[in-house]
């Protein structure tokens, strides 16, 4: 990242005219910021309507309220699966951005990347193990339970 070009230490610096900001880090920051806003919007779309009204941006609040009432809530906002899946995916995207760019996994050896992925494999096992299953998949599990 910050020293991709070891020959030229100044390479990559400067963002929106500010010389002391490293460009790639700032773009990752912008993505993290945008995803956080969308994350808050998905479960609570009215928060931003209130926010824009408080800021005196009534026309934006009105437009957003119209969007909420006619498009977002009728088509997407009623589906819990959409809410949960989109929130989890956005959280995973943000964690990937932080780990890949800020924790420099992008330039690490594959062994370190594998070590970093270990908790996700562990989480997968945990999720499967703790999931409130309502089916036995036709397998008589109780036969395996000792008396």
């Amino acid at each position: 990242m910050a020293s991709q070009d070891a020959e030229n230490q100044e390479s990559g610096w400067g963002w929106l005219g500010i010389g002391n900001l490293y460009r790639q880090y700032m773009w990752v920051w912008v993505w993290l910021f945008v995803l956080t806003i969308v994350e808050v919007y998905v479960p609570e779309p009215h928060v931003f309507v209130d926010l824009f009204q408080t800021l005196g941006l009534g026309f934006v609040a009105g437009w957003l309220e119209y969007f909420n009432e006619t498009i977002y809530i009728p088509y997407l906002g009623q589906h819990m699966a959409f809410i949960v899946v989109s929130l989890v995916l956005m959280a995973l995207a943000k964690t990937w951005l932080v780990a890949w760019y800020y924790m420099h996994l992008i330039s690490e050896k594959p062994a370190i990347i594998l070590i970093a992925c270990a908790p996700f494999v562990f989480s997968l096992f945990l999720t499967i193990g703790l999931w409130p299953w309502t089916t036995t998949f036709g397998i008589p599990w109780d036969l395996f339970v000792p008396d």
Binding site: M1, N20, Y25, P74, I83, S107, S123
Partner: protein, 218 residues
């Protein structure tokens, strides 16, 4: 690449490495993996308790439960932590550029961000303990909600507090000249911990604050 260079540029500790990376970094990654599994266990337990809550003591909707502090304040806190994370990468970047003065300023901003986060969390806890979920849980509320909330956010807050102390220690070492532009590995290891704290908060924020009980359109 920053990580690769940090390992190579580490002068005094150059011999103390295995697998091509410094032992310090291997140690920090091992600790972070262990810590991540602890958080994964707590989050998975939280999810299981939440989705298994009985009908007579339903899980409260986080958006209602947090009342006046709301998720807006916590969203702002998340933003503070993300900013703090970007400050931290600039510490390492400026150090690699040899600009230690700028690195110290970025590090001060990082510490300040962590302290703001802790301050807001303290305000939130105070409000919730006094008005909402104190020793006497509100009638009809699932008792597991405040229990898991305080456990998750408290455990994370403890990590932030440790990170602030860690970074303050690093700043003192920089000011005394013990950590110079040649010791990038030291800063990188501290940065790994700080970014991990940010990374975990992203997940805690989603699971505890954002996922609603009912969709907004219901």
């Amino acid at each position: 690449m920053a990580a690769k260079e940090a390992s190579i540029m580490e002068g005094p500790g150059a011999g103390e490495e295995n697998l091509g990376v410094t032992n310090g970094k291997i140690g920090m990654w091992t600790f972070l993996v262990m810590d991540a599994m602890t958080f994964a266990g707590i989050l998975a337990g939280y999810a299981r308790i939440r989705w298994g809550s009985p009908a007579d003591a339903p899980w409260p909707d986080p958006l209602d439960a947090f009342g006046v502090v709301g998720i807006q304040l916590t969203a702002f806190n998340t933003f503070v932590l993300i900013c703090s994370s970007v400050f931290m990468v600039h510490v390492l970047a400026e150090q690699m550029r040899g600009n230690m003065e700028a690195a110290q300023k970025w590090l001060m901003a990082t510490i300040f961000g962590g302290m703001i986060f802790l301050g807001i969390q303290a305000f939130e806890w105070t409000h919730l303990i006094i008005d909402k979920f104190g020793l006497v849980v509100l009638a009809g509320c699932n008792e597991n909600f405040p229990a898991t909330f305080y456990l998750l956010t408290g455990f994370h807050g403890l990590h932030v507090a440790v990170g602030v102390i860690y970074n303050t220690f690093l700043l003192v070492m920089m000011r005394r000249g013990k950590v110079t532009e040649e010791h990038t590995s030291t800063t990188e290891i501290a940065g790994l911990y700080w970014h991990f704290v940010d990374l975990v908060w992203i997940l805690v924020f989603t699971f505890v604050y954002l996922i609603p009980v009912h969709p907004p359109g219901s």
